[in-house]
C-alpha cells in the first residue's frame, strides 16, 4: 500500500485557490490552470481531486457558505442583547475589512457563474434562504410581538442592504468605505427599533 493522500485537505486547498483566483482575476480568469498555479500544483492534481471543473466550483461555493455560516454562528454565540447580536451578525456579513472585500468579489463571481449554472444557482438560493431564516430569527428575538411575515420582510430588507453595499463596494471601494457600511447598518437598525 504505497503513499496515501488526504483528499479532503487537497480539496480545501484547491477551493482556497479558487477564491484567490476569483478575487484577483475575476470570473473570466478562473481557469483550471490558474487554480492549479495558485495552489502550487498542476492540473493533474486538480483533475484527480475533482472529476470536473464544475465539481471544483461547487465545492468551493459550499465551503464558502460553511465558513460564513460558522462566523455568523460565532457572532450569535457571543450573546448579548438581541439588537447587538443582530448588528454583529450583519457587520460580519458587510465589507469592513480587506479580506471581506476579497470575499465580496468572490461572491460576485460565484453569483455570475450561478446565473449560467442551475446547480450553482440552487446552492446560492439555499445559502441565501438560510441567511434570511437566521436574520428573521434574530429580528424576532428583538421584536417578539411582530408576526412572522413582518419579521421576514425586515430581514430581507436588512440583507438586501448589506449585500447591495457589498456588491457596490466590490466595484467601487472608494465610494463605499467601511464607514458607509457601518452607517447604513446603524440607520437600518435604528429604524427597526424606533
Amino acid at each position: 500500500m504505497p503513499r496515501q493522500r488526504d483528499v479532503g485537505a487537497q480539496r480545501e486547498l484547491l477551493s482556497g485557490a479558487v477564491w484567490q483566483v476569483l478575487a484577483a482575476e475575476g470570473l473570466p480568469g478562473l481557469t483550471v490552470r490558474a487554480v492549479a498555479e495558485r495552489a502550487g500544483c498542476t492540473t493533474g492534481l486538480v483533475m484527480h481531486a475533482f472529476p470536473t471543473k464544475r465539481a471544483l466550483l461547487l465545492h468551493a461555493r459550499d465551503l464558502l457558505h460553511q465558513r460564513t455560516a460558522e462566523r455568523a454562528d460565532a457572532a450569535e454565540a457571543a450573546g448579548g442583547p438581541p439588537a447587538a447580536v443582530l448588528r454583529d451578525v450583519l457587520c460580519h456579513a458587510a465589507t469592513l475589512t480587506a479580506e471581506a472585500a476579497d470575499e465580496a468579489r468572490v461572491w460576485v463571481g460565484f453569483l455570475a457563474a450561478a446565473l449560467a449554472d442551475p446547480e450553482l444557482a440552487e446552492r446560492h438560493r439555499a445559502h441565501n434562504r438560510s441567511f434570511v431564516n437566521r436574520v428573521t430569527r434574530l429580528v424576532g428575538a428583538g421584536h417578539p410581538r411582530w408576526a412572522h411575515p413582518r419579521r421576514e420582510r425586515a430581514a430581507k430588507r436588512l440583507i438586501a442592504l448589506v449585500e447591495g453595499l457589498n456588491v457596490l463596494t466590490a466595484a467601487d471601494p472608494a465610494t463605499y468605505p467601511p464607514a458607509v457600511h457601518r452607517d447604513a447598518i446603524a440607520a437600518a437598525l435604528r429604524e427597526l427599533e424606533g
Copy 2:
C-alpha cells in the same frame, strides 16, 4: 458609391443582442458567435462594427447606462412632490417587471466582467456615481435642511438597498417578488421622512 450601412444602428442592434445573451446565457455564454446569432448575423458583421469584443461590451454597457438614465430623467420630469419623485426613480431602478429582472441579470454579468476589466470597471463607477448624485439631489429636494454629507449617506443607503434586492432577485426571484421590493422601498422612504 455602392451600398451604405448605418453603423450606429448596427451597433445598437448588437448591443441589444449582448443584453439578450447575457440575460439568457450569463457571462460564460457571452461569445461573439452567440451575440451574432442573436442579432441574426454572423461574426463578420460584429467584427466590422466593433474592432474587438471588448469594444462591443463597452458600447453595450454605455448604452445600458444611457437607457436607464433616460428612464430616470423621465421619472423626474413627471414632477410631483419630492418624496413621490424619489420613490418613482427608485421603483424604476428596482426589479418590478420581467424586463427589469432580465436587466438585473445583465447588470450582474457586466459587474462580474468589470471586476476583471479596468475600463469596464471605470464605466461602472462613473454610472453608479452619477446615480448617487441624482438620488442625493432628490433626497435634498425633500430635506433642504440636511447638509450634503447626510443627504449622500441617505442616498447610498437607498441605492444599496435597491441594488441588493436586484442582485438577490436575479438569482432567486421567488424569494424576492415585486412586493418585497415595494415594501423595502416604502420602508426606507418612511424612515427618511419620519
